[in-house]
Subunit: 143 residues, 2 copies
């Protein structure tokens, strides 16, 4: 499958730019959206949860959460552990989630226009498999 990476990576810039433009209407970017999405999907979460989920360092998530607090889309409450802070959506955050979710889903549909359903499914299935293969290869290298 020579040239696959090129095609894959070529799409990236277009896609992330479009998403960021779409989200900028709410003063968001895709990286901030990820936090909102994770909380919405997994319920109130800690910084460590989120950083583990996206395989990103903690300070990166600290920053994102602070930004979302400024935007009043998220608030932190103490966890059971006095170290922990549990991050949850505010009402505003939830409202904005709904709106963005809709727009992103629309975009997901419009981007697939004219593409056969079975091709869409193939691509959908293949992506996590590639990621797994990548991960395994990484593992092997450090043995």
């Amino acid at each position: 499958m020579e040239g696959f990476f090129q095609r894959y990576l070529s799409l990236y810039r277009s896609l992330i730019t479009t998403l960021n433009e779409l989200l900028s209407a709410y003063e968001l970017s895709y990286s901030l959206w990820q936090v909102i999405y994770h909380i919405k999907t997994n319920g109130p979460s800690t910084l460590v949860d989120i950083s583990a989920r996206y395989n990103v360092e903690k300070p990166t998530i600290t920053r994102r959460v602070h930004r979302l607090e400024e935007l009043q889309m998220v608030k932190q409450i103490p966890g059971k552990d006095r170290r922990e802070k549990v991050i949850q959506l505010t009402e505003l955050g939830d409202k904005i989630y709904q709106e963005c979710r809709k727009k992103i889903t629309d975009l997901e549909h419009s981007v697939m226009e004219g593409i056969a359903k079975d091709e869409q499914n193939a691509a959908f299935h293949i992506l996590p498999k590639i990621q797994e293969n990548l991960f395994n290869r990484e593992g092997n290298k450090s043995e």
Copy 2:
């Protein structure tokens, strides 16, 4: 196809990190690799050629080319036009291209292990179509 973007973008970080690690052995990154790849594929090129190809601003390419010059993988010669500088690979640049090309192709293969050929083909075909759909959507918006 809900969740497609998430899957797509989740793979991105893993992939670009792996590629950058692979290329770091040659003091390269994927963004520098693009320049080498373009010259190798399209022959000696100007800055404008490259920036148009990757849809990236000219100063960005100026920087990449300067970096590649430092690494002595690329050199600039005057074009027919006294404004133009034509960028071409040095012998070293060509040698490194060959080595990286091989490693990247190996990676492309290993990442597809255990994935049916027709699924691979579907994904391969779908990516440019998605990009085109994105592009058309962009176009419509500014009308």
